[in-house]
Amino acid sequence: MKLTGAQILIKSLEEEGVDVVFGLPGGAILPTFDALYDSKIKFILVRHEQGATHMADGYGRATGKPGVCLVTSGPAATNTVTGLATAYMDSAPLVCITGQVATTAIGSDAFQEADVVGITRPVTKHNYLVRDVRDITRIVKEAFYIARTGRPGPVLIDFPVDVSRATAEYEYPAEVSIRGYSIPSKGDPDQILKAAALMNQAKRPCLYVGGGAVGSGAHKEVFELVEKTGIPITTTVLGLGIFPEDHPSSLRMLGMHGTVYANYSVQQSDLLIAVGARFDDRVTGHIEKFCPHAKIIHIDIDPASIAKTVRVDVSVVGDVRHVLRQLNKQVKDRRRDIRAWLEQIDAWKKKHPLKYRQSDDVIRQEHIIAKIGEVTKHEAIVTTGVGQHQMWAAQWYQFKTPRGMLTSGGLGTMGYGLPSAIGAQMARPDETVICIDGDGSVQMTSCELATAAYYKIPVKLFIMDNNHHGMVRQWQELFYRHRYSGSQLGASNPDFMKLADAYGIKAIQIRQPDQVVPGIKEALAHKGPVLVHCLVAKEDNVFPMVPAGHALDQVMDMA
């Protein structure tokens, strides 16, 4: 029996095990939405297509399985660009399907036409324009395969309306055949031996682990490596949760707002072992002054990440989980040989702990976040927007579960928090999902409160309201002589309590320090979505801080 292209697409999604699609209908995608109406796939109607992509991204990061969004052509498709770029920078698996005008109208400046394949080329791992109804199944199969394998990423399928109406026999391919695409798995044994030899000799080794280890599902292997060798470990913001931060070997996060002891350790190390991390400038600080005494081992699935910004002494291309399994067989317990180094690190930890000044009258964001961590036993899925609250969440939640921190690390997309929380909650309905957001950041996508309300998606949204674009204000205070150009939100903020009320969402306000813990508990006890409006210190700064362009050990720590 012949099916329409739209039916074939939906059936293909079912074949890929898709259980939820985030999106918003419109002209060119109407046949597909009509087919979706008959499907068992759950549909989540968003309020803005950027939200749909972040939801699919949140779903993807929370599970490792590509999240899916479905939107129409033109403006809807261009609205997905920020979400695609966010997912691309952080290697989140996602499949985005956009409607397109009929193939006969492409290039004619038709209504709601945009060159979506052209626009999204630099922000997707791969993209497709479907030109023949008989190609749909192959393209969907390839899209999911590409999105979730290797270094994961977003894949876009542009789906012209006439192709969705054309008919063909349905047959889903059993295999994918792409000769230009292969997936590294195990590392080269010689390279593993070289890496192990360095690790077994180094006097001041340090592990630096990033999102690649999370994506690879390598938390057990990372734990085993640390337990076996005793080598201290720091993580990037995307690596948070790969290793329990309360473990004595944890140095917690490194980089611009990392701990002083993580940054000192990296700078003083004689061997840096980078695992699924890409030496981002927010991690390395001044690249020429980055870990000047260290040899570097770089383990990554993406050959293009290796030696991109730093020189590398030993590279291992492969899936982090497989490579670490190989490596774990070769490495030795180093605790006795590196005792002096470990003592030095302990001394740094004692001298420069993460800290903030407690206060009885103003609420510090650090305090709220630390308490959220305690109340949720550090096991919730946390999403964030971008800014001060994001860095404090990274510093103070104390992560211990992989896929527990979803944040826009690479692109730094404000507005990522709420929709990604919705996506993560749809993916993992039994977990507590908390969005920690700022009053500036949350307003970029706060329309998705309607989505949470309508589908009763029980995300807990904590808005840290400091009445500013706080991180911008911090830089202006420190580097622009207190000239707060464009960073004050002032009286322009909505009444967030009324906003929650308008959407029919429970609202809780935290105005003074003694309300923090009860407020958190009340929010978590509520079954549906909650907005917790936290009135926090207006002019607070995130420390430690390595100013941009400085070496990692040139730390400002005025907390």
Binding site: L129, I178, R179, S182, A304
Partner: protein, 188 residues
């Protein structure tokens, strides 16, 4: 330094844009880029000539390799190469200088492909130095127009060919992806 890069790509629409986009996204100028079908109609071959330091070129090659539609990338710079370019030159050649121009044409084993009372149009093929030398000699006569195809290049020793289509086949198995065979680089 100058790099000559050979790239095998799937003969799909949009591939040229993906490849050239990688260069432009890094602010990297392409001296010449040629593309055409290979012995396999489903595979096209590009020859890209670009200037850049080795590190930048190495990064560009890795990025090219990441493109799904790119099958293979080879830096031909240090290979023993056969490289050719075809050039059409329209040069001023009134009666008084016509003989001299024709002598240059003969010396370079070029061809005259069009003639009128004022100009000669010359077709020449060769490597970069030959073409440059000839253009240099013609310049004093007055060059009206030059069209160059850009360089194509082939290694004398090794072949750059695409693996058969099945070579990257992967079979889905429960709980992950099982690979039958690898097609592309695994070691850096």
């Amino acid at each position: 330094m100058k790099h000559t890069i050979g790239v095998l790509v799937e003969n799909h629409f949009g591939v040229l844009a993906r490849v050239s986009g990688l260069f432009s996204a890094r602010g990297f100028n392409i001296d010449s880029l040629t593309v055409g079908e290979t012995e396999d109609a489903e595979v096209s071959r590009m020859t890209i000539v670009a200037h850049g330091d080795d590190r930048v070129v190495a990064q560009i090659m890795k990025q090219l390799n990441k493109l799904i539609d790119v099958i293979k990338v080879v830096d031909l710079t240090n290979e023993e190469l056969i490289d050719r370019e075809l050039v059409l030159v329209k040069v001023s050649a009134p009666a008084q200088s016509r003989n001299e121009v024709m002598q240059i044409v003969n010396t370079f084993r070029a061809k005259i492909v069009d003639v009128n009372s004022k100009t000669l149009t010359i077709e020449v093929t060769g490597g970069e130095s030959k073409i440059d030398a000839m253009l240099e000699l013609l310049r004093p006569f007055g060059i009206f127009e030059v069209v160059r195809t850009g360089l194509i290049a082939m290694s004398r020793k090794s072949e750059l060919t695409a693996p058969p289509k099945q070579a990257g086949v992967s079979t889905e198995v429960k709980g992950g992806v099982k690979k039958k065979s690898a097609a592309k680089l695994a070691k850096v």
